[in-house]
Amino acid sequence: MGSDPIGARRSKRHYHPVIYLVRRGAAALGLLWLVLTLTFLLLQAAPGDAADLLVAPDAPPDVALQLRQELGLDRSLSHQYGRWLGHLLRGDLGESFRRREPVRGILANALPISIWLGSISLLLTFVVGVAVGSLQASKRDRWIDRVLTGLTTAVYAAPSYWLSLAAVALFTYGMSRLGAPQWLRLPAFGLTNPASDATGLAVFPDLLRHSILPIAVLAAVGAAGIARYARTAVLDLSRSEWVRTARAKGVHSSGVMFRHLLANALPPLVVLLMLALPGVVAGSVFVESIFAWPGMGRVMLEAISARDYPVVMGATVVYAGIVVLANAASDLVLHAVDPRRRA
C-alpha cells in the first residue's frame, strides 16, 4: 500500500468543502455522543446512586424509595439513559444536589473565567513555546540551546500547582522582603481586589494584575512542552530538501526561516496548538484551585468533595465538548491552510 502514488487511492472521493464540513461535523457529533454515553455508564458503574446521597442514612427506607421513584432511578437503565440524553440535548444538565439550582447556571457563571484564563494562557503557550523552540533549533547545540533545553525540560517536569505555590511565595512575601517596588508585588488570590469599589470597565486593570501570576504559571508549563516539540519539528523541517534549495538559491537565512520554514510549519503548528489544549485544561484546574479563581476547575473540585454528581457530570460534559469542538475546528483550519489534505 505504501508504494501507491499519492492520492491514487483517495481520488475516488472528490473533495468538496461543504461535504467535508458536513462529514467532519457529523464525526464530531458522533464523538460527543460517545463521550456522553461513556460518562453516563461511568456514573452508573459507580457504587450507590443519587438517592443514597440525598437521603439521610437514618431516614426510613421508604423515603429513599420515594425519592428513587421521583428521580426515575427505579426505571430501566435504557429509560434513564434516554431521559438523561433528552435533557442534555435541551441543554438541561440537571440540578445541583448541594446548591439546589440548575447546573447550567452554575457552569455558565464559571465558564467565562476559565475561558479567560485558558485562552490567554493557550495563546501565550503557543507563541512563547514556538519562539523558544525555533530559537533553539536555529542555535542548535550552542550554549543557548543547551540552557533552554535544560530549562524547558525542568519546567515540563514540574507540577503546575507547585510552580503556583512558588510564584505565590516569591511575588507576595518574597518581593516585599526583598524590598521590590510596589508594582512587582503581585496579588495572588481571587479575580479582583475585594476592597476596591470599582465597577464595570474600571475593574479591568485590577483583573489584569490578578491574572498575571495564574496565566504566567499556566503558560510557562505549556510553553515548556511546546518548545520541546517545536524544536524537533523545526529541526526536521530545516533538514528538508526545499530548505536546502532555498539556501542554495541564495535566500537570506532569516528569509528561509520566515518565508519557507514557517509556511510549511503552519500545519504542524495547528496540530501543536491542539496538543497544548488538554494540558492547559488540566493545568487550569490546579491553578484555579490555588489562586482561588471561581472557574470551571474550582467548581468541579468543590462538587467532587461535596459529591455533587450533577455538577461533576456537567463540568465533564463541558470540558469534553470544548475538546471535541476544538479538535474539529483545528481539522477545518488544517484543511484551509494545507492543500495536501484536500486530496
Partner: protein, 281 residues
Amino acid sequence: MTRTERWAGGLLLVLVAGAVIVPAIAKQDPLAIDDILNARLIGPLSSDEAGRFHLLGTDRFGRDLFVRMMLAGRLSLAIGVAGSAIAGLMGVAIGAAAGWWRGVFDRAAMAVSDAMLAIPRLILLLLCAALWRPGTSTVVVVLAATGWMGVARLVRAEVIGARRQPWTDAAHAVGSTPLRVLVRHVLPNAIGPAIVATTLGVGNAILLESGLAFLGLGVQPPQPSWGNMIAGGRDLIVTAPWVAIAPGIALILTVLGCTLLGDAWRDRLAGEVPTTLADRA
C-alpha cells in the same frame, strides 16, 4: 548508552535506592507524631531538642521531612510504575486484538479510545476519583484505565502493518494458528514502541498521582505522597517554605529522570513512537 541515559538512569537509581533504603534504616518514624510542640517546623539542616538531626527539617507535626519524602517516593514510584505498566499491558492486549481480528471489536475499541481521548485525562481522573472512594488502589486502577489508549493505537497500527508482511503469510502457510502468529511473530515487532510509550507514561502517571494527592483525591494522609506533602506545606509556603519545596524537588527530579530516559529510548527507535504532549498535573 548515551550520556543522557547515564545521567537520567543514575538519577532514577539514586531516587529509587533512597526510597527503598532510607525509610527502612531511619531512626525517625515518618508517620508517628510525638513531640509536636518542640519538633514542629524545624528548618533544614538542624536538630530538634531531643538532639535528632533533620536533614530537610520537619513538618507541622514534627515529622522528619526527609524520611517522609523517601517513604512518599516509594508510594509515588510504585503507583506510577504500576499504573503505567497495567495501562501498557491493557494497551498491548486491546491494540493487538483490535489490529489482528479487526471487525466489531476493533471498531468498538477505537470508538471508546476516541471518546476517552476527547476528555482531558485529568478531568477523567477527577471524575473517577469522585465516583469511587479515593485511595491508593483507586489511583492505580484509574491511572491504568485512563492511560491505555496511546499504547493501544500504537500497537494496533504496528499489528495492522505486520498483517500484510510476507513473513506473516509464511507463518500462516507453515500451519501456525492465528494466535501463535500474533504472539510469536507479530507482537515482538510492536513491543519496542509500546515499551517506550509506557516508559514515557511513567513520569506522567507520577505527576498525575501527585496532583490527585495534592487535591485530596489520591493517596490519603497519614500515608505520605509527594502530592499530599506539598498540600500540607501549602499554607506554610511563606512561613516554612521547605515543607512544600522539598517534596516538590523530589517530584521534579523523578519526572525529569523518567522524561529524559523515555526521550532517549524514543530517539533509539527513531520515528517509531510519535512525540505527543500528554496531560500533566
